[in-house]
Subunit: 111 residues, 2 copies
């Protein structure tokens, strides 16, 4: 049964090993994850040819790179990487950070 | 030029007339709006056959209906309406509410 209601901050899971991705929802249309970044952890800059991605900071702060611009975003702020635009995220702060990440369409859905 | 970084709570716009929709980003893949609901305002329950919708509460609280379930969500909580599932939102509280809304794919993009 599909769960329709979520508390993303209650779903966080951190690891000293690397950034963690916690999936809340997925379909052919999108995925909705929570990325959990301890200080220093990151998702390397990369590009998706056909998919948009939204990063929304839930707690803490992260440096978000979109195209040729990088901004430090705090809780409540968001960044959009349109299809074909390079993007990445890094927690350069001293505290854990959680980020809601929605990508559309799902790049590799097996439903 | 596409704006990649947004502060949704800084983009809110309320009207006594009805719920307001403020667009932050749109493409064929998705739209990303902020819905602004004064007390008593709502989006009537409806269905999209081919599009998923995420509601994430940014401030205040709203009653979100997905399928046959309604929950009162507070800031940080979210609800997902998969394609084909009826959904709606109402601010039954006494305070303004703002909601990040992402729909994928965009139902009628004219890019």
């Amino acid at each position: 049964m599909t769960v329709h209601f979520h508390s993303p901050l209650g779903a966080t899971s951190f690891s000293d090993d690397k950034m963690q991705k916690v999936n809340l929802y997925e379909s052919a249309q999108m995925f909705c994850d929570v990325y959990c970044l301890l200080p220093g952890q990151l998702q390397k800059a990369h590009t998706h040819d056909d998919n948009d991605k939204v990063y929304q900071i839930l707690e803490g702060e992260c440096d978000v790179e979109i195209g040729d611009e990088t901004q430090t975003l705090e809780a409540g702020e968001l960044a959009v990487a349109p299809a074909g635009v390079i993007h990445g995220i890094k927690n350069k702060s001293g505290s854990p950070a959680s980020v809601l990440v929605i990508m559309a369409p799902h790049p590799n859905f097996n439903g």
